[in-house]
């Protein structure tokens, strides 16, 4: 297949489709709308369903219902819309319903600066819904990776029966670039019950990987799904033991696969005294800044978080042992920097920006120089 020009948002739609998504519910909001528009066109061509809902809450509700009825599902939004989705993202976590939520970040809080890029929703992606829950958050830096990560997000949602946040930004969402999309794609199928009802099937009994094989509606299992804390039968339980065990298992099912889920892109780290850590669209600029700094003889490496959460504690901890300092470049007032500080064994400096414009390579380079001077 030859290269073609494609937009990040379109690549997400294409990737989702290739991963088996057959249901999208959404509400228009810039800069995410192209995902909805692409899927409105593409889904009915493959027998799938696109529905534009009355708001973002309904968009989450409709995809969760569709997921329980057996379809792989996706929704997409930005800024205020993502805030509205939070209630039912928590429902998806509690009731263990596979769903992918795309956030094409723009400047906030509130209506903020519509269409202008930002990475200000990092901590919302992790902690946006109430209560203790685990979640997977992935962030692409290119159009091609937007496609690949859309596939991965759908696969993780299905495998772990969890909401997955595809955390992109206006930079990548609206960027068009040449891509050659992979044709050989691995797709994780919907999990299915291993027992019949007569054999004592319980919908929320965890499998060996701690993930339950919840039956789809309409398959005769007559299951009950609730956002209340429930036991393996799926019915609410007021027991402290069940509450403790359920909350713990929902964390453990993801953390036990951390090594597989956590992906970090590293370059120039062999000789590095310093490293720039970034993610998403900002990483493109950080990469150029690293190249430029290296040309000037600074031994600086490039670290890009592809998986934002679960956070790469172990990897950051390990690489930082050989580093004199880390620069975190993010397009916000400072969010992921605190995670890096927590995990790192060396000084950490923030390079932040929150003025509607993306970083220029020189700005990050200047911060690298400052870091070098500060740790001397």
């Amino acid at each position: 297949m030859s290269a073609r020009l494609m937009q990040g948002n379109e690549a997400i739609a294409e990737g989702a489709l290739k991963a088996g998504v057959r249901f999208f519910g959404g509400y228009p909001i810039t800069p995410s709308t192209e995902i909805a528009e692409s899927l409105a066109k593409m889904l009915p061509k493959v027998g799938g369903t696109f529905v534009q809902m009355e708001d973002e809450i309904a968009s989450m509700g409709v995809i969760l219902g569709a997921s329980l009825a057996g379809k792989k599902v996706l929704t997409a939004s930005s800024g205020p819309g993502i805030s509205l989705k939070q209630e039912l993202i928590g429902y998806a976590a509690a009731a263990e319903i596979p769903a992918v939520i795309v956030n094409v970040q723009r400047v906030g809080p509130s209506t903020g600066q519509p269409t202008a890029p930002s990475q200000g929703d990092v901590m919302q992606a992790r902690w946006g819904t109430h209560g203790d829950h685990s979640i997977i958050v992935l962030s692409p830096w290119s159009v091609k990776e937007a496609f690949e990560i859309a596939v991965k997000a759908v696969n993780y949602a299905e495998r772990f029966r969890t909401p997955v946040i595809l955390l992109t930004d206006e930079i990548v969402g609206h960027l068009r670039e040449n891509v050659e999309l992979p044709t050989d794609i691995e797709v994780y199928p919907r999990r299915i019950p291993k027992k019949t009802r007569a054999e004592g099937y319980q919908p929320f009994t965890p499998d060996e990987d701690l993930v339950p094989n919840v039956a789809n509606f309409g398959e005769g299992y007559k299951i009950h799904v609730t956002g209340l804390i429930h036991d393996e039968t799926g019915f609410p339980s007021g027991s402290p033991k069940v509450t403790r065990e359920q909350i713990k298992r929902m964390h453990d099912k993801i953390s036990s696969a951390d090594d597989e889920i956590i992906e970090v892109h590293q370059e120039f780290m062999d000789d590095a005294d310093f490293a720039v850590i970034s993610f998403g669209g900002t990483a493109r600029t950080a990469y150029e800044a690293v190249l430029n700094a290296r040309k000037r003889g600074i031994k600086v490496g490039f670290v890009r978080l592809i998986t934002i959460f679960p956070f790469a504690d172990k990897i950051i901890g390990k690489i930082s042992k050989n580093l004199r300092g880390i620069l975190v470049a993010e397009l916000n007032f400072g969010q992921i920097v605190y995670e890096v500080e927590r995990a790192a064994n060396c000084p950490v400096k923030l390079c932040a920006k929150y003025d509607m414009t993306i970083f220029e390579p020189e700005e990050i380079e200047k911060s690298i120089d400052e870091l070098v001077a500060e740790v001397k």
Binding site: S2, A3, R4, L5, P114, T115, A116, I171, H174, L175, R176, E177, N178, G281, R284, T285, Y287, E288, L291, I358, E360, P361
Partner: protein, 173 residues
């Protein structure tokens, strides 16, 4: 070699579409290209800007710095966007819509919108006329390639008029 372009004007003039088509043409010739854009909340009017980087090497930072070519389809865009032009670069202006040339050495003035209105009856084709001008001036892509890219992008029943628009632009410089 890296070439950077900025196409600017006001919403509705089609500069973003023109930039996408140019990037598509470059990609179909096997080059790397990125296209980005910024615009105001207005669907019509308001500032509109689209940038294209074309390179044989991989492109990371996606925004244009020191453009080699700037197209300005309004006076406001011309005044705002010529500043960081490469001193050896070229500023392409719509002759009627940009009455006052900015202080820059290498300026090409073409009555882009007027040509579209007079020859095709619609200002709507101005962006494709501009694309013809750009292809001629920049020599970044082959004329035959851009013809194919335009034909792929525009509604089928307008292909003929768009080909004419492209040719008019190409022949005007």
């Amino acid at each position: 070699m890296r070439k950077q372009l900025r196409l600017s004007g006001s919403g509705g003039q089609g500069v973003i579409t023109a930039a996408i088509i140019l990037a598509e043409a470059a990609v179909s010739e096997g080059k790397n290209a990125v296209q980005s854009q910024s615009y105001g909340p207005e669907a019509r009017g308001g500032a509109s800007k689209s940038e294209v980087i074309i390179d044989d090497e991989k492109i990371y930072h996606p925004h244009v710095k020191t453009p080699d070519f700037v197209l300005a389809m309004t006076q406001k865009a011309a005044d705002k966007y010529f500043h960081d032009l490469n001193p050896n670069g070229t500023l392409i202006l719509d002759d009627d819509l940009v009455p006052n040339s900015p202080d820059f050495k290498n300026i090409i003035r073409v009555p882009i919108t007027k040509l579209a209105v007079e020859r095709l009856g619609k200002a709507l084709f101005a962006n494709i006329v501009a694309l013809g001008v750009i292809v001629k001036v920049t020599r970044l892509v082959d004329f035959e390639t851009i013809k194919k890219s335009v034909a792929n992008r525009v509604p089928p029943h307008t292909i003929e008029q768009n080909m004419t628009a492209l040719q008019i632009g190409y022949d005007s410089v």
